[in-house]
């Protein structure tokens, strides 16, 4: 069992293995020694937990080494860049709704213009409606905006211009909370 765990350590980036490989190997040996005295079911659970932890940990470290993103992949607070500064998701949704409305207005205006052209003496022909396009338009605009936003944010993140790196560089809770009067003694 320990040999499988040790082999999973090779999934980690080399720099990580150099820094933590020996320590993790020692801990895995301790965990194996502890579990050897347990029943089959408990050993199986321990093995599954360790393997899952090693695989997900390796994935996270590779992601981190590629992007510099210093957080768990499945963190429920991915958008919480700082505890006092949260990404205004409602603003993004409102902006997309406004964008969808603008797109729809342009579409309607085009339909009206095409019904008036060419100008004749005959009364205005029927306006060719673009159909009941509100929901499809919203869906398409949402999809395009989400895709464009994701691509843009990824580019900014890769260039370390998203602001996340700057926030992580400064001490969390140092400046903002220093005036709260909380003791720091041990």
């Amino acid at each position: 069992m320990a040999s499988i765990w040790r082999s999973l350590l090779y999934l980690y980036p080399p720099s990580y293995r150099r820094e933590y490989g020996e320590e993790m190997r020692a801990v895995l040996l301790d965990v194996q020694a502890e579990s050897s005295g347990q029943g089959v079911w408990a050993r199986w659970r321990t093995s599954a937990r360790e393997m899952a932890g090693l695989v997900s940990g390796a994935l996270q470290q590779h992601l981190r080494s590629m992007t510099g993103f210093n957080r768990a992949i499945f963190s429920p607070r991915r958008f919480a860049m700082h505890s006092e500064f949260r990404f205004p998701k409602s603003t993004a949704v409102l902006m997309i709704v406004i964008l969808a409305a603008v797109v729809m207005a342009i579409e309607k205006a085009t339909a009206i213009a095409s019904s008036q052209w060419p100008r004749t003496n005959t009364p205005l022909g029927p306006i060719h409606p673009a159909g009941f396009t509100f929901l499809p338009t919203m869906a398409v605009v949402f999809a395009i905006a989400a895709f464009a936003g994701t691509v843009g944010w990824t580019v900014l993140f890769a260039l370390q211009r998203s602001g996340v790196h700057r926030l992580s560089a400064c001490n969390p809770a140092s400046e903002e909370r220093s005036g709260l009067g909380l003791g720091t003694g041990s």
Partner: protein
């Protein structure tokens, strides 16, 4: 990039290091004991969290007499201790309010 409030595993790791420096396996056992066996960290999860806490300056490595088999101990820094105190204060306030609300509902 660890920010407050912290997740339960990270809180337990910080609490484990609050009393004394510990190495990896001791942290695993202590977190399990503190949570009555509810939280059982894997080695991969533990070292992912330790690395983030090290990078953020919440914990630091320290020398230990028994450093055989590649064992390395960790302890809280001043920043880590201050953040842990703030988190504990937040939890205290939350449990106080929760107790009052639950008690009021039961009356």
């Amino acid at each position: 990039m660890e920010s407050l409030p912290v997740t339960e595993p990270v809180l337990l790791i910080l609490l484990s290091l609050a009393g004394e420096p510990r190495h990896g396996y001791a942290i695993l056992r202590d977190t399990e004991e503190m949570s009555d066996g509810r939280v059982r960290l894997s080695t991969g999860t533990l070292y992912g969290a330790l690395r983030r806490l090290l990078n953020d300056g919440w914990i630091e490595r320290c020398r230990e007499d028994d450093n055989a088999r590649g064992r390395q101990s960790y302890r809280l820094t001043q920043l880590g201790r201050r953040n842990l105190q703030m988190e504990v204060a937040r939890l205290k306030q939350l449990t106080r309010v929760a107790s009052l609300r639950v008690a009021r509902k039961e009356v």
